[in-house]
Point group: C2
Chain length 265, copies 2
């Protein structure tokens, strides 16, 4: 399971403030803590103000890279911000994200190709998020045909089947899980990722829903997720599910995590 | 999810003592607490001493029925004990269990047929527990052909695909989950049940493994389990997974459980 640490996100109030005030210490602490907690990538979102975004993204990247060497996941729909960001990264970043929306494909895909980036591909297009799994597959097939057409190997694509809240449609989780099973069958080399906390929007005890959904999603093929790596209980669920799914020889990782105190409830 | 409450089991030291001392209060408290916690059935195991078992089972049944009317699951391989027990139950009990072992089939199946009982059917025979899912299916098919041959409808059969510990074979959970998926496809009307705590035998933080396995097993089709209904965290996982799997219209059961304080972590 590759964890993409979600915490450095300018749409969060406290992070937006840190960006505005150039509070490097606050950002660096988020970067270090997520890295120590095992994040494989750090998502970096500089907020959504077009004029400032390129400059803010560059500041964020340089601030983060001063303290950790974890690869970054540049989270922007703004090609100018992405180009500025890519010019200063130390390691090839992941791009978050393309989708079936023509503008996104036209603006972002060339950057992905030019720099050999891994890329998150969202199962939506200009008509929105398809309701049924089979319709999300139509979008995903189109996206994969575009990335393949540009010579991007499947294993560089992180397909996000999208999770909508079960509070407005009780079948939302099933639709996401079914989409993942179909992707696993049809594109076995592609990764599956998920911004998974949407699933519980509008409900109480959200963390409980999110972590149970993580176990179910891993069984359906999820191998990456955009989450808070500091969420101890979520991390414990990932460790436990990895072991139960047979990917932990002799349960060594599980027993090691136990001894390190990561599995206390 | 039908919970079969596991606590009244004479192979547990404290219960054996209560049986020996005819400590009705202790047994009745177990019966009441499991019932209040939502058990659909109460497993009743009078221990394994052949001479005493029939008499002890009758005492247990009468003691339990004095305080609750939850249907019982008579847990015995002893036909004489089962016959004595069935003579005193108020409601048709489940029988735990038959298997592909010829002696079990010969001794227990006629009792199931004669009294119209639901029955747990274990995926093992006189050669033991098959290693692979497909081989467990061979045993299960033979069992289903026997129950069908005796006119027992599939929905009265609770197939237990068996869970061995992952501590000695890291693929144990996958084998159990795969067997469940195959049963769901081939015998859609049959129930699936599981004595699920075996999965974590020999490992630390067992409760964590057990409850994560519960979520995965429910996704694979589990609709019944032999567990401790008083395990709050396990109960919360069952509620949450039921909701995520789309079986909780408008998330009403989830929000109700939250308001009742069942989802605190």
């Amino acid at each position: 399971m590759q964890v993409i640490g979600e915490k450095i996100n300018g749409t969060r109030k406290r992070v937006a403030q840190a960006i505005a005030e150039r509070d490097a210490e606050f950002i660096q602490e988020l970067a270090q803590k997520q890295t120590q907690a095992g994040a494989a990538w750090l998502d970096v979102n500089a907020g959504t103000m077009p004029r400032q975004e390129p400059e803010d993204l560059v500041w964020l990247i340089e601030t983060i890279q001063a303290v950790v060497d974890t690869p970054l996941c540049l989270d922007s729909a703004n090609p100018r911000a992405l180009e500025k960001g890519i010019a200063v990264v130390n390691k090839t970043p992941m791009i978050n994200s393309i989708s079936g929306e023509p503008a996104r494909l036209q603006n972002i895909l060339p950057i992905v190709v030019a720099h050999g980036c891994p890329v998150i591909a969202l199962a939506l297009d200009d008509k929105g998020i398809p309701q049924q799994a089979e319709d999300r597959m139509v979008v995903i097939r189109e996206l994969m045909s575009r990335t393949r057409g540009q010579g991007i190997e499947d294993h560089r694509v992180y397909i996000d089947p999208l999770a909508m809240t079960i509070s407005t449609n009780i079948h939302s989780a099933n639709i996401t899980l079914e989409t993942m099973r179909l992707v696993r069958r049809e594109f076995p080399q592609a990764h599956l990722t998920l911004g998974l906390s949407n699933i519980s929007f509008g409900l109480p005890a959200r963390a409980r829903i999110n972590r149970t959904f993580m176990a179910l999603a891993m069984q359906a093929g999820l191998d990456s997720a955009i989450i808070d790596p500091l969420d101890r209980e979520m991390r414990a669920v990932i460790i436990t599910t990895t072991t139960l799914l047979g990917r932990d020889r002799h349960c060594l990782n599980y027993t090691r995590a136990y001894r390190a105190g990561h599995l206390e409830s």
